[in-house]
Amino acid sequence: MRINLIPPEARPTRSSPTPYMPLLGLLAISVIWLITQFATASVVQREYEKHRQEHIQLRQELGEYRELPGRLAQAENERDSMYEKAAAITAITQSGVVFTPVLKSIAESLPENLRLTTVSLDYSARTGKILGYGDEERTDLEVASFLRALNMDEGFRQMLRSAELEYCHHAELDGYPVKQFSIILRFREPPLAELIEEDFVLEEGDDGT
């Protein structure tokens, strides 16, 4: 038995969930679409980051490849230089000439007040030259002492035949009065040539000429 004393116009209207269902459905679809887009964007972002890293790496490798010709040229220059040095060393070692005892004798015989500016030894020309300077007062005596010491030195004499004064005169160095000197060094000839020369000299001496 059903009866309702409340007239239809006085009955409360309750909101039905049904009208909101399309909106809720739309909202759900939107949320799903957004989630899908977000997932897709995440995947794309990860791919982009991966390719960007690869791109950076490739650019770095490309830069290194572009530097290779320069490095190759430098390496070739170094190689040539090394070849030259090796050739020089080979030539020196093949000639059998070692200047170390000569330089040691020069260094040990040099008086305190003299300063050397150049020491050149040309074995092919078989000459050498020592240039230097000293003060005006004592240089003459000390150069003479230096020459005597060289000529008397055992190590010097093994390779060089004589040390001769070329000149010793006044000069200016940076506005100060000094005396410059030059000493000519003469190498010994190869043993056979030297023997011939000595014999010849002896013969000349014997002849009294």
Binding site: N4, L5, R14, M21
Partner: protein, 320 residues
């Protein structure tokens, strides 16, 4: 298909009795009623009066104990708030019923009938005549009652009278018979007798305790006894019940009522059952819903909470 399909709506049933407010939250599963929450609180009011402020306080108290926000809220009120009317009419179509009842009410109530809300159903057919049950309430009182619930954020969707709820409770409990049965609601100040036949409310009759109404003031009425209705009040109930049964059987040419069910707080008193059975010469039982209503609260008493649950459950969906 979009939208929700509610197969098990939660319904709040409210019973405004003579001296108590009862609420029941029920779950309707097909034709099974499950009681989820119950609330009952006594309040005092004059017959026909509506103490709006006291009800508001009561509803605020109720809100803390029961969920007032249900999908549907149904209210049942006692006949002092919404009196029942019976009219004998020629056979009518349902479309003609409303206008016919309106005319009857205007003839009965005069000018005030224009402010009356009413609804009617045909309860009996006797040959060329039919008996119509129509409950009514003044629009002003209806607004007052509905506003009280609306103020507590508990809008009421449907309002019926106790007699309809009693009928629905009897039908749901399977207590309606092929022959008419009577139901008596006994309250300390007010009682009412209903006769249900063929799943319809055929007759209802309020029985006031003398001295409780300004209409029937009797200062000599003896005080209420602590252990139940007074003997004089019971004598009056028996007398009026016999008159009602005689009227039903003789004037309405109806089959005799054989059983009486008791409803109300005092119904389960054994001496009352025996007294009425002896004096009315009927089989008297306390109304029991048996297994028809599933109680999840552990507090459900058919005689106390039955009308609130019946209001929530409403009528069954059979073709009546």
């Amino acid at each position: 298909m979009l939208g929700r399909t509610k197969k098990s709506p939660k319904v709040l049933g409210i019973h405004v009795g003579h001296n108590a407010l009862t609420m029941a939250n029920v779950l309707l599963k097909d034709d099974v009623v499950e009681v989820l929450e119950l609330f009952r609180h006594s309040f005092s009011r004059e017959p026909g009066g509506w103490p709006a402020e006291e009800v508001s306080v009561l509803l605020r108290k109720a809100r803390k104990k029961i969920n007032l926000k249900s999908e549907v809220t149904r209210l049942t009120v006692s006949s002092d708030l919404a009196p029942s009317n019976y009219f004998i009419m020629p056979p009518l179509d349902e479309s003609q019923l409303d206008n016919a009842v309106r005319l009857k009410l205007e003839n009965k109530l005069g000018d005030s009938a224009g402010e009356i809300c009413h609804q009617a159903v045909i309860s009996e057919r006797h040959g060329e005549r039919c008996r119509v049950f129509a409950c009514s309430i003044s629009a002003q009182k209806q607004r007052l009652i509905l506003d009280s619930f609306m103020d507590s954020n508990c809008p009421v969707d449907a309002m019926e009278v106790e007699g309809v709820s009693v009928t629905n409770l009897m039908v749901r409990a399977g207590l309606d018979q092929t022959y008419p049965v009577a139901v008596m609601q006994i309250a300390p100040e007010w009682s009412e007798m209903y006769i249900v036949a063929r799943k319809k409310l055929t007759l209802s009759r309020p029985i006031l305790k003398l001295g409780t109404s300004h209409l029937t003031a009797d200062e000599d009425e003896e005080p209420e006894q602590a252990d139940g209705p007074s003997e004089r009040y019971l004598d009056r109930i028996v007398r009026e019940a016999n008159k009602t049964l005689d009227y039903f059987e003789i004037e309405l040419l109806s089959p005799a009522v054989r059983r009486l069910f008791l409803l109300g707080e005092s119904a389960d008193r054994s001496e009352l059952t025996d007294f009425l059975a002896r004096r009315l010469e009927l089989e008297v039982n306390v109304l029991d819903t048996n297994d028809a209503i599933e109680d999840h609260t552990g507090k459900f008493e058919p005689t106390v909470h039955g009308l609130a649950v019946a209001a929530a459950a409403g009528g069954l969906t059979y073709a009546d």
